[in-house]
Each structure stands twice: as structure tokens, then as C-alpha cells.
Subunit: 266 residues, 2 copies
């Protein structure tokens, strides 16, 4: 690309719409090929513990970027001019672990002790699976991916602890094997599945009653395949009840300028 | 290693014992780290078809080496001074698809139209799995791996056709996922599993009644994991009934000087 032209990449184009308040949809399918991120913003007295929680639990909490110092709302490693106070289409405000508000910008809430954490998201590996010809049921059925609380305990970091939340995509065995191969290449977006087969073995009582998201069809010749899910750190935050935290609204992600293919380790 | 000394590697040491008739055991566990191979010897009117069968079905038939020309009994790419007429501890002689004899050398049967094919074997990936801390049930239970005929049709090559035979190792889901990652690195020794979970989906009626090898324990929290098996080309040969063919006796493999770790593609 010739840098002297006015061309902008699709990720940047959509972020501009979001910043101007001209984009109010979820970001699934927007800017294909670009990495989208989960967001968690915490005050600095929680930041070290949250960073440690991510380091100890990289599968549910794959950290891709964070504020360089408290109060820094720019994320230059993720993309040009990203300002985390404006560039996510919908935010959730949590006080003492309770959801109190959804809004489209957080500049009036931002303070000099805030730290933004951006985590990898399943959209990236779903794109890689689709590109390989695999079917993803929640996409076929146009609903949210089903997510479940499990009995798989995350490593504790100070006041932050949680049982892992997993997302589930049903697949035939041969496709599950292929999905494991593909997702292994993408550790920064949850990596390989953490379980497949019998849901009861990870503490899921009824596969047809997800704790988050929607139920999807599981056929007789399919196995449920489970991935570590970015809802896990949200559960840890809800449980720990910090005075103030801010997340993206589910499905309304930060669109970065990183390419999904650049996340592949192989 | 200093080539001027008389040092020999462990693989070569055991081959010398085999050639002198001083080794009559199976080769499982012998010369750790070195690639062991399945053997099939066919007369030249079958060789092109067998080579094509291997190329079309690389998971059950991962070809590692073959005679450079008909009648050539040396395999220099596999190791120093390997003579396929003497260096396998036990051979099976087949006439018109029927097993007629087992013997310890085949020099009197060798003719100028014979072609030897050496195929990768599960010992190599089992070693990689063990090195990663995984348990392999047939090793723990000191028996042969259970093997099953399936309904997975191999691609046909001339007169050679077969349904795939698979070997099975039970594992917890998290270990099955790890095994898929590890075996993916070793395509020349059967590669990633071809199925896991419900045996009926690949035409196995009773997992506790293997068609070859021994039954192993499958625990309630485990999945059966299935790999393409080197018995498959033997089935194709038996079925096609060539006038004469020679194989290794199960478990009595050719020990090469190649290192298992050198087979890893990553």
C-alpha cells in the first residue's frame, strides 16, 4: 500500500464509524481478517492482579495488549490512533461487581489510574476454521456460541479466582481433530480446545442449557468440543467486586489492525 | 561421533545381533530413539500398484524407504549396511495371500524382481507421547495394541484395496488433544489420529473385541482414540493374493539408524 495515499484499512474504517457514533451493531463479521479483542478495564490497584491472572491462565485470558501505564488510553501496538475510551461500539460499566450501565463511550468515566487489557477472542480462530472448510454451528444457526461454567479451576491471582468458562462447538470427530490442529497454531486466541466429549467430566450438567449464549444443535455423530472462553476473566472480576470496572458488551469488540493470520505461531 | 573409532550406534548394534541370529525377541523398546519400520516385499509386477496405494493412503501407509530398483536388498537411506534379506528378526512368507511360513532370513527366497517397502510404525509416535508424559495403555498393560477393521475405505490402487485398520489407545480428553498435537508433527508415522469417540461411527461393533492385538482397559473418563494402522496394507495384500509376498512378523520390525526426532516436521 502506498502510504502517501488516503487509503485506510477496513479495520480503521470501521473504528472511525464507531468513534463517530455511526456504527451501533455487534462486530461479528466486520473487518474480516482483522483481530478483534475482548476488553477489561480496571483501576490500578487491581491491574497487577489481573495481569498475573492472565499470565497464569493464558488459555481463557490470552493477553494481546494493555495500557503502557495507568491512565494511558492509546493502544499503538493494536492499531493506528486507537483510543480505548471511544473505539469499542458498546461498553458495560460494573460497580462492585454489578452491571450498572451500557454506553457507547467512556471518556467521562476514564481516570488516570485506569488500565485497559485487551484479550484475544474466538472470532479469530472461528475465521481460521471456516477458512479450512469446517462448519461452525453457532454461525450456521445465526446465534451466540453456547458457553458453560465448568469445574476446571483457574489458577488464583490475589483476589481474582474463577472456574473456567468454556465455549462449545459441535463437530464430527475428524473435524474436531482438524480444529485442534488449526487452533494449536493460535495460542493468543484461546489455542487448542480444552476438552471434548462427555460434558459431565468438566462439570457441565446439561449441554442443552448453556450458562451464557444460545443452545445449538448437536447431531448424533458429533462430539461437543470445548474451548477456554474470554468470559472467564469477567467471572473473576464479577466475583472479586472491584469498585469500578469496564468491559466491552458481549459481541461488541475492539477491532484492531492486527491480522488474524499474523497471530499464527506456525 | 568420531568416525575413526569403532563406536557403533545402538540401532546398528542390535541389527548385527539380528543378522548373526543372536536376537530372537520382538523389537519393541529396542534401540530407543531410532525409527522402526514395517516391511512389505512384493514382486515387481505388484510394486507400482503398492507404491501408488501408499501415495494415495499416506496415513495407514507412510512410506519411508523402498528398494532403489527391483532386486536391490540394500536400504542405504535407512542405515549403514542394512540388508533387508537378513536384518529383520522374523519374517512372514505369504503365498497367494496365505501365510505359509515364518523365518529369520529370506536370502534363499530373494529374487531379482523383488521390491522392499518400509513404512513408518506407531513405535515412533508412542515414544513421542511417552516422552511428553502421556500414558499408553497397551504399554502399561504389557500387551499388543488393539486394532480394528473399520468402514473407512482406502483409496484403491489397481488390484489393491482395503478398509482402513486402526489402532486404539484410550485417553482422557485433555490427553487426546495433546496426543493430536504431538502426532501431527509426525506424518511419516501415521500422523494425527483419524477418529476419536464413538467406535460405531467408523464401523467398529464392539470396542472390547479387537480384530488384531489385545483388548485394553478403557476407563469411564476416557475416549478411545484411533490411529491409521500399518496392518492396512497387509490387509490389501492378503485380499489381492499376489503369488508371493514377504512381511515382517508383527512386533519384529526393521530397526533403522534414523532418529524418531528427525521425523518431526516441526
Amino acid at each position: 500500500m502506498n502510504n502517501t495515499t488516503m487509503e485506510i484499512v477496513e479495520s480503521e474504517r470501521i473504528r472511525r464509524l464507531i468513534r463517530r457514533g455511526e456504527w451501533s451493531q455487534a462486530t461479528s463479521g466486520a473487518a474480516p481478517g482483522y483481530v478483534q479483542c475482548n476488553l477489561a478495564i480496571l483501576q490500578s490497584d487491581w491491574a497487577a492482579e489481573f495481569l498475573r491472572f492472565c499470565q497464569l491462565n493464558p488459555k481463557p485470558c490470552p493477553l494481546i495488549a494493555m495500557s503502557e501505564s495507568p491512565g494511558d488510553y492509546l493502544l499503538p501496538t493494536l492499531g493506528k490512533d486507537i483510543d480505548i475510551r471511544f473505539d469499542v461500539p458498546r461498553y458495560r460499566i460494573w460497580r462492585d461487581g454489578e452491571l450498572v450501565e451500557e454506553c457507547e463511550q467512556i471518556d467521562t468515566l476514564w481516570s488516570n489510574d485506569m488500565v485497559a487489557f485487551l484479550l484475544g477472542c474466538s472470532f479469530s480462530f472461528e475465521e481460521a476454521l471456516l477458512a479450512d472448510g469446517l462448519e461452525i454451528r453457532n454461525i450456521t444457526e445465526a446465534c451466540n456460541v453456547p458457553m458453560y461454567r465448568t469445574n476446571m479451576r483457574c489458577a488464583k491471582a490475589g483476589r481474582l479466582e474463577a472456574d473456567m468458562v468454556v465455549s462449545m462447538r459441535p463437530m464430527k470427530a475428524e473435524h474436531a481433530i482438524r480444529a485442534i490442529q488449526i487452533c494449536t497454531r493460535f495460542p493468543s486466541v484461546h489455542g487448542a480446545p480444552v476438552h471434548l466429549g462427555d460434558p459431565a467430566l468438566i462439570g457441565i450438567a446439561d449441554i442443552n442449557r448453556p450458562d451464557y449464549g444460545d443452545r445449538v444443535t448437536i447431531r448424533a455423530d458429533e462430539l461437543p468440543v470445548f474451548w477456554a472462553c474470554g468470559v472467564t476473566p469477567q467471572v473473576a472480576i464479577e466475583r472479586a467486586r472491584p469498585a469500578l470496572s469496564i468491559t466491552h458488551s458481549p459481541g461488541y469488540m475492539l477491532i484492531s489492525d492486527l491480522l488474524n493470520s499474523n497471530l499464527a505461531v506456525l
